[in-house]
């Protein structure tokens, strides 16, 4: 059974329909990458999974359970975490408080997972009492990732995690995503740097005009000439 299964999803914002039938299936432990041109509905797909927009049709299953239209605050306790592209940290709260908020949905002792997150992102420990809004872009992204990891997610949704970061930091983020995935966390991400992202993907989904246009393993999509010509810039 797939961990995340999206069937014929139609969704949008208010009366504007953006997704016109998207299908996506991700097994436990996989990295799935959604690529495609601007406006194809990549971010809309992730947001629909998290109940952040209007779903007009189709179904979203998580671990076999229907979560279509479940309000976002109920998904954290199912151990689904989402890192939005923008405004993904609490800027007025300290790094430490950001991480604590990440664990809001779990009422158990969080010191072990806190230690784990600090060991994954060592720079955060030194800045733990600094407001997240005062950090650099790369460090903020670490806080956003760390916050998401605090729930010990089974599924991590990432909306363009490398947007606005320097190339050096970009490959570091990809390394971190692989490392997180190795600990058993399934990852579904939207990415503009399609080549790099597909290189680490178990599955790739190319969206165009709110519909699937290609689906395959990351390697298949990278090797496909049509995909390369239309979406990967030759």
């Amino acid at each position: 059974m797939a961990l995340l299964e999206i069937r014929d999803l139609t969704a949008g914002y208010g009366v504007m329909t953006i997704l016109k039938g998207v299908n996506l299936s991700l097994e436990e432990g996989e990295i799935g990458v959604i690529v495609g041109p601007n406006g194809a509905g990549k971010s809309t797909t992730l947001k629909a999974v998290f109940g952040l927009n209007t779903i007009t049709g189709g179904q979203i299953l998580f671990d076999g359970e229907d979560i279509t239209g479940t309000p976002p605050e109920r998904l954290a306790s199912r151990r689904i975490a989402f890192v939005p592209q923008e405004a993904n940290v609490f800027t007025t709260m300290t790094v430490h408080e950001n991480l604590e908020m990440g664990a809001y949905a779990r009422r158990s002792d969080i010191s072990a997972v806190l230690d784990h997150v600090y060991s994954v992102f060592p720079p955060l420990k030194a800045k733990r009492n600094q407001p997240a809004g005062e950090l650099s872009g790369g460090q903020r992204q670490m806080v956003a990732f760390g916050r998401a990891l605090m729930i010990e997610p089974r599924l991590l949704l990432l909306d363009e995690p490398t947007a606005g970061l320097s190339p050096l930091f970009m490959s570091e983020i990809f390394d971190r995503i692989i490392a997180i995935n190795k600990t058993g966390v399934s990852v579904a991400m939207v990415e503009q740097n399609a080549k790099q992202a597909l290189a680490i993907a178990h599955k790739g989904f190319v969206l165009a005009n709110g519909m699937n246009s290609f689906t395959g393993t990351g390697a298949e999509l990278l090797a496909d000439e049509d995909v390369a010509r239309s979406f990967l810039g030759g």
């Binding site: 998290f50 952040l52 309000p71 976002p72 605050e73 109920r74 998904l75 954290a76 306790s77 975490a81 989402f82 939005p84 405004a87 993904n88 940290v89 609490f90 800027t91 007025t92 709260m93 408080e97 604590e100 908020m101 990440g102 809001y104 949905a105 916050r147 729930i151």
Partner: protein, 332 residues
């Protein structure tokens, strides 16, 4: 020396009293704004309602033969806080939540809160009439006169003022602990910071909204009861101080609880210092300099009747110097 004591009595103590009341009200206004993103104009009347609840409960306690070394309104205050907090929740449920659910813009909620203000004032007058009432049933207002060595006059503090100091201190410390240490308090700050991200991390906005009304309503109950003990209870008790409370909220930085406290005291002290008759302090200096200059009989920055404009002067000055308020709030 006598002049200094006069200054302490007339400017410092009364500044602290009115500053505390403003601060307690402004914390509620700023929390509601920080979480719900609208200016809650009915907050003043929530304070008045709290004072009337205190009056009714204290009268009932007096009729039941309860006696206490402090005013009965203080004895029943925990119950008053609960009742007022429940009323605040009820107002939200009946008037604000439906609008929120319908996705109304903030200005619609502001208008609704003005409607709630008029409704509450009408209800209070309907049941209690327009007259003023005394909040003391079983015992008179105690007044403490503190002797200062070498001075003829004394520092005068009334019992409700002392209780107000204590309650304000406790409320501020408790609020600080709540916002910086407790799980719910941090969730509240998270919702105020970034509501979408807060939902994503699993924080229920409705839970935080309820906590906001409970805290705001509870503090309004304390402020209203204390104000009515210090002066008298009347239907427009707190509506009259609504504008200074909003000035204090904005001066402190809207959405910033510590700013609201600072703003409350800043506005409170400014008011009393502005209407203080400074010639009392200048006269001894004039005597000392052998009459080098003449001191008029009354020398205040503004006449008492114009006291209400002081908060706005402070507001304009602070906003020119620091447009986001002292604690850098978020003005929309």
């Amino acid at each position: 020396m006598n002049e200094l004591i006069f200054f302490v009595n007339k400017a410092l103590i009364s500044g602290f009293v009115i500053g505390s009341i403003y601060a307690l009200g402004a914390i509620g206004v700023t929390l509601v704004f920080g979480i719900l993103r609208f200016a809650h104009f009915a907050h003043g009347d929530l304070m008045t309602v709290g004072a009337f609840v205190a009056y009714v409960l204290a009268a009932a306690a007096a009729a039941a033969g309860v006696t206490a070394p402090v005013p009965l309104a203080v004895v029943v205050l925990p119950a008053v806080i609960v009742v007022t907090a429940v009323m605040a929740l009820g107002l939200d449920r009946a008037f604000y939540r439906p609008l929120r659910r319908a996705g109304s813009p903030g200005v619609v909620l502001v208008m609704a809160s003005i409607g709630v203000t008029l409704m509450l004032q009408g209800l209070i007058r309907l049941f209690a009439g327009p007259r003023s009432r005394e909040m003391y049933f079983t015992e008179p207002k105690d007044i403490f006169r503190i002797d200062i060595p070498g001075a003829a006059s004394k520092i005068v503090v009334t019992e409700p003022q002392l209780i107000l100091f204590v309650f304000t201190l406790v409320a501020v410390v408790a609020l600080h602990w709540f916002l910086s240490r407790s799980r719910l308090g941090k969730a509240m700050r998270a919702v105020s910071d970034n509501p979408d991200l807060a939902r994503i991390t699993g924080i229920s906005i409705e839970t935080v909204v309820r906590a906001t009304w409970i805290i705001g309503g509870g503090l309004a109950a304390i402020a209203g009861t204390m104000l009515s003990l210090d002066v008298t209870l009347k239907p427009d008790l707190s509506f009259n101080i609504l504008l200074p409370i909003f000035a204090a909220t904005i001066v402190g930085g809207i959405g910033q609880p510590y700013g609201a406290i600072a703003g409350g005291f800043l506005v409170g002290f400014s008011e009393t210092l502005a209407v203080f008759n400074w010639s009392v302090l200048l006269r001894p200096i004039a005597r000392f300099t052998d009459g080098a200059f003449e001191v008029p009989a009354k020398l205040a920055f503004v006449p008492t009747e114009y006291k209400l404009m002081v908060p706005f002067i402070i507001l304009v000055i602070v906003l020119i110097w620091r447009p986001t308020g002292i604690f850098k709030g978020r003005v929309l």
